[in-house]
Symmetry: C2
Subunit: 185 residues, 2 copies
DNA sequence: CTGAACTTTCAGAAATTACTGAAAGTTTAT
DNA sequence: ATAAACTTTCAGTAATTTCTGAAAGTTCAG
């Protein structure tokens, strides 16, 4: 893997941002390297290009595979494993989004459900439970909606995003368009 | 601040999740405590309830204020400062979302813009630049759209979210509803 | 001005997270 | 069965992040 200055800057930056996106520096760098490479790349090449140990590379690749951001690519006749991006940019973004939802929202939803089953012991608890309930509902809406958006598929999602302020106008008209079942006001 | 079992579980959980949401354990705990409390709460009470040092509490509160998740609340006749949530649950969620966008997306957009100005030196760089361009466009759409959604305001946003699969049907009809300017196909 | 009641800062300590590299494991060819 | 070519694991170490608590800073009443 030839590390041109352009690629190096991008890789370094994705490393720095890695931790903000849910993984660590090396994992971010490995991902960038694989995405930007125009050909499948081996674990050893990655370790060399990034100056990290072979062991660390192995762990990073394992993590990226668990996020489905990277997949193996067998080259006929080659003993070692090569890696390529798990899909196009849009797919990768989706997977990061989805995976983060699982890690950031789902466990909280689960706890909230449990806490809401208890009978509040006093005024303070009752108030706290109200708040927790609000949080629960909000997270539920967000989860359901993100699911809905994913079901739309890339094309429609893109149409929707590009619609911009048209969304607002469309909402104003929605009752005229859709049957009552979906009216929520 | 009375730490009932219910409140304790919630606070502990938000502490654990804190790091996934962009801040650290104590910051998460402090936030949960303030949100769930039914009355303004002082820094000393927070430190006591969470068993953390007064200094750490001060830093945590400073961070929460920078996120605008918590604000000061002056009690007449009291010397010390009290704290309350920066808004209702919906507002808080929005602020977290917004703040994270600033930290997670904006710096990358900025770097990508720069890298895309360079003339690619060879085939490999040209390919990498194509990928970077795709990433840039995607992030730009996401940013613009999240801006758009915020402009809708809570009510419409909620309507849109509750619309569920209706969104798909609506998109199919959009060309009949909106003038050509917003057609993107 | 003084001191009481509070808050903030920050150097060092503690806790957590990430990384290395050697050893163990796996796969394939002969 | 053996060995070469690779990958994974994991104990120990290094780097980073978070926390403490003492000192410095602020504000206000008298």
């Amino acid at each position: 893997m030839k590390m041109t200055p352009l690629i190096t800057s991008a890789v370094m930056h994705f490393g720095e941002m890695g931790s903000r996106w849910g993984f660590n520096r090396t994992v971010g760098q490995i991902l960038a390297l694989i995405v930007l490479a125009d050909e499948p790349i081996s674990a050893q090449e990655i370790a060399d290009a990034l100056n990290i140990s072979r062991g660390n590379t192995s762990m990073g690749l394992k993590e990226l595979q668990s996020w489905r951001l990277v997949k193996q690519h067998l080259v006929p006749g080659e003993r070692k494993e090569f890696f390529i991006a798990g899909g196009d940019i849009w797919t990768l973004a989706n997977r990061v989004f989805e995976e983060r939802r699982k890690r950031e929202i789902d466990p909280t939803m689960s706890l909230l459900r449990d806490l809401l089953l208890d009978t509040p012991a006093n005024k303070t608890e009752a108030n706290a439970q109200d708040k927790l309930n609000e949080i629960h509902d909000l997270l539920e809406s967000v989860t359901a909606w993100s699911q809905e958006l994913q079901n739309l598929g890339p094309d429609k999602l893109n149409t929707l995003m590009k619609l911009g302020s048209g969304v607002g106008r469309m909402l104003e008209l929605k009752d005229k368009i859709l049957p009552g079942k979906n009216s929520v006001n």
